[in-house]
């Protein structure tokens, strides 16, 4: 974990509103673990003031710029343009100076080898699952259930397939794959493979639904959360989530940036997310 002043290697639109950026990042392929993230300084002059958090999609090497030079080590992020910071990011070009802090946070715990592993990704939430998949496929059967609103939200699925991951796509409007929510696919898969371990990342309603499904079946689950962040290192306490067993006298709050962003589902107090799902499934805690 350190602050690198570095440069953009490439920045391309891969689907409407979704971009893939490669950033020169010496050391990242050794250091970055699946599920970790970086704090990205959009431009060295202000604004925007705060850094933006992005999951590590993968790390790798590019051939050197000229013979005899070492290969270029990079970290790759995938981002969706949603606001001011990402709006500026989409205009960045090869060679532009940026700063990245990381790799940060606690990533996924792969669990025992030989298990069935199910990855559940919603939209851009698929990002931290790629590195995880590339490690898991070495010794496990891996399935990716990928959901989105429309076909435009289904990104990089072929890259997962190239790793040897079985993929199942669903969209809410039926424009690609099965029509409906990714959670209905999850229910089916868990019926068929009840001893699976689930790893999920996506919008909060999806995570709550996944948690309900896994809780009912006692399926081990890890989720990767998002939170508003200022520092990314556990100093500002802006990004806290309420942990299981929290009381006012004995606060148990967890920094998403430091104790997370990946949590085992039993670490969290799920009632904080105000979910409809909580009531539907009885909310036994």
């Amino acid at each position: 974990m350190k602050n690198l002043t570095t440069k953009v290697l490439s920045n391309q639109e891969i689907a409407p509103g979704y971009y893939r950026m490669r950033i020169l990042a010496p050391g990242y392929s050794q250091q970055a673990r699946p599920g970790q993230f970086i704090m990205f300084r959009v431009q060295l002059s202000l604004p925007p003031l705060l850094r933006r958090p992005f999951g590590v999609f993968r790390t790798g090497f590019l051939p050197p710029e000229c013979d005899g030079m070492p290969p270029l080590e990079y970290v790759e992020i995938l981002y969706k343009v949603v606001g001011r910071g990402t709006g500026i990011m989409q205009e960045l070009h090869e060679g532009d100076k940026v700063e990245i802090l990381g790799p940060l946070g606690r990533g996924f715990d792969a669990g025992p080898v030989g298990e069935e592993k199910i990855l559940v990704g919603g939209g851009i939430g698929l990002v931290p699952l790629y590195m995880l998949a590339s490690e898991l496929v070495k010794e496990n059967r891996v399935r990716l259930l990928m959901g989105g609103r429309t076909r435009d939200d289904i990104i990089t699925v072929t890259e997962f397939e190239r790793l040897g991951v079985e993929t199942y796509v669903s969209t809410e409007d039926g424009s690609l794959g099965e029509e409906g929510l990714v959670t209905q696919v999850l229910v089916r898969k868990l019926k068929k493979f009840p001893d699976s371990r689930v790893f999920a990342c996506g919008p909060m309603p999806m995570l709550e639904a996944v948690e309900g499904i896994c809780r009912d079946r006692k399926t081990p689950l890890q989720v990767s959360l998002e939170a508003l962040m200022a520092c990314g290192v556990g100093a500002c306490l802006g990004c806290v989530v309420i942990g299981a067993g929290h009381t006012t006298e004995q606060p148990k709050q967890l920094c998403t940036c430091k104790a997370g962003p990946v949590f085992k589902s039993e670490q969290l107090d799920w009632s904080q997310f105000g979910g409809k799902n909580q009531k539907a499934s009885g909310g036994c805690k």
Binding site: L49, L50, L228, M229, V233, A235, L237, V240
Partner: protein, 314 residues
Amino acid sequence: MSSTQKTQQVEKPNLAVEIAGLSLKNPIMPASGTFGYGEEYAGYIDLNRLGAIVTKGLSLNPKAGNPTPRIAETVSGMLNAIGLQNVGVQDFARHKMPYLRELNTPIIANFFGNSLEEYGEVAKQLSDIPELAAAELNISCPNVKKGGIVFGTDPKAAEAAVTAVRKHLKMPLIVKLTPNVTDITVIARAVEEAGADAICCINTLTGMSIDVRTRKPRLANRTGGLSGPAIRPVAVRMVHQVVQAVKVPVIGVGGIIRAEDALEFLIAGASAVQVGTANFINPGAMMDIIDGLERFCIDEGIEDINRLVGSLEI
């Protein structure tokens, strides 16, 4: 320099300053609440290069703080409503001090309370931690027993808080003022009178931001404290006013992100400065500022940074 006055050659300017009996290597320290308990930034910078370390605000009991969202970015600044979440003074002594005491830089514990009794009790417990160099009293808190009036917005209440603390505290006392008042010099004089060894200003300015689509406040707490470059001119003005109103040394805080910003405060009369929000943007900010101060002194031929303090020309 183009002026006729030839600047003298300075190779290694003195950056050391003294505040309330504390000797600091340089005038740069983190602002409370932006640097955790120090250890959070150990992997990024050499903590021993700092003039001092100021901890997150401590209370008698552990405090959960506010619901989320707790932060919102604004123009050249940010709002926060963390709600003073902290581990409590006992846990701090047991679990955070062992790391901090090994460092070669003074440790300043920031603290607060919700009643005069609580302020006094925390001061007592802090005095039992031998390695603490000083305590910084945050009076931007409501007095729960007195209808929630914020101690730092009323000269009598501020004086009472400082008196309650002074009675029990066995180390130098820095009192940190809130800018959310009509005339900060009135409060500054009141806390000096009650025994403050130094004054730190400013804390955050109360603000609010609304998401126009949802029509909801962007902070769960509705309002929050504004920090960052946006507040710097206000902070410089208040430091300037306070320096003229009191005799005790003043520590300047508010929107410092570069060495030039820190210099503004020193020239206005602050003997040292704190860096807050800038740490989030660049963990190396304080290192860069220390280097920048040294470079400025060399360039300007200033052999001792203390000569800059209060050098404002009007």
